[in-house]
Amino acid sequence: MTKVDIKNYLEKIYNVPVAAVRTRIQYGANNKRNHRNQRVKKPDYKVAYVQLGQGQTFQFPNLFPEKEQDTETRSFDDFRSKYMEREKQRQKGDPRRGGVPDWFGL
């Protein structure tokens, strides 16, 4: 999509007044290697910087706001924390011997 294409797209389909559009192509890195030591490329993509017209401003919203957890997730979190505590207790050594692990000594 060229600059003109993006301007027309936003104006006609989204009814957004556009003052200017600048584009650049972001090179995707080719440094990662897979299990066969072949280089794996991340795809290149075009980035467009759109300046809105008619004094409009835009703030990117927070699409993942913190919401109240429902009873199911809360009970699951409780269960998970209790399980982790039990596991840690099991791994600790005998408190009468000073918390030293069991495979020491007699």
Binding site: I13, P61, N62
Partner: protein
Amino acid sequence: MAAAMGIGALCWRFSGALRLSGVRLGSTAAGLSGLTLNLFHKNLAKVEPLHQLKFLHTTLSRKGLEEFFDDPRNWGEKTVKSGDAWNIKQLRGKSSEDLHKLWYVLLKEKNMLLTLEQESKRQLRPMPSPERLKKVEKSMKNIDLVVREREIALRLLQTGHEKPVPGEWRHDFLGRTYWYSYKEWPIPWYLNKKYKKRKFYYLPHVNHFIRLRLEKSLRRRARRQNLERMRQKVLERKFPHLAVKSQSQ
């Protein structure tokens, strides 16, 4: 319930698009653009068809960039309910204008879902209900198929040809048969050096490899059919009551 809600959401966006198209026509006819004039035209457009469209009573979202995001009530949810994709049979019954509007509704929905996907990657969170993207893509593909069918039918009636570009079946140098569509050239083929280098025939030594290719395809087909039959048998053994039902029907 989910299907109804999904269809309801689609209908809402659909009617929104109807209004949008009406408004844009009005503003371009006047030759002026601007939010204030758009509002004025919107009010005018609402007054006329009220007696025709009793059940449509929606408001357009004024700022276009809001359409890149979902309903604010759905932000932060783990799952968002959505209806099924549009079936080809359902789309065949719609008029071309309806399909045109539906295409743009689906396009905006797809843009919204893609922004949500990218944002979830940036925030390292799971995207809520990613199957919506697949449904939208499937619907758009179905619309494309229906439009293609209608084009072919129209062309057949008007010209008698199925394809827009004439062509023929040809062989390549490996013995494979494929559909070659004619291209437009400014010179005849016997003066075209690049075209004369292309070989649309195969030499006799290739017959052996054609035979091998044929055998391979036959083996693959036999394997596929065998696999299907074995799977059917396993199912019949697992659910014998269902097998008896199909035989009786």
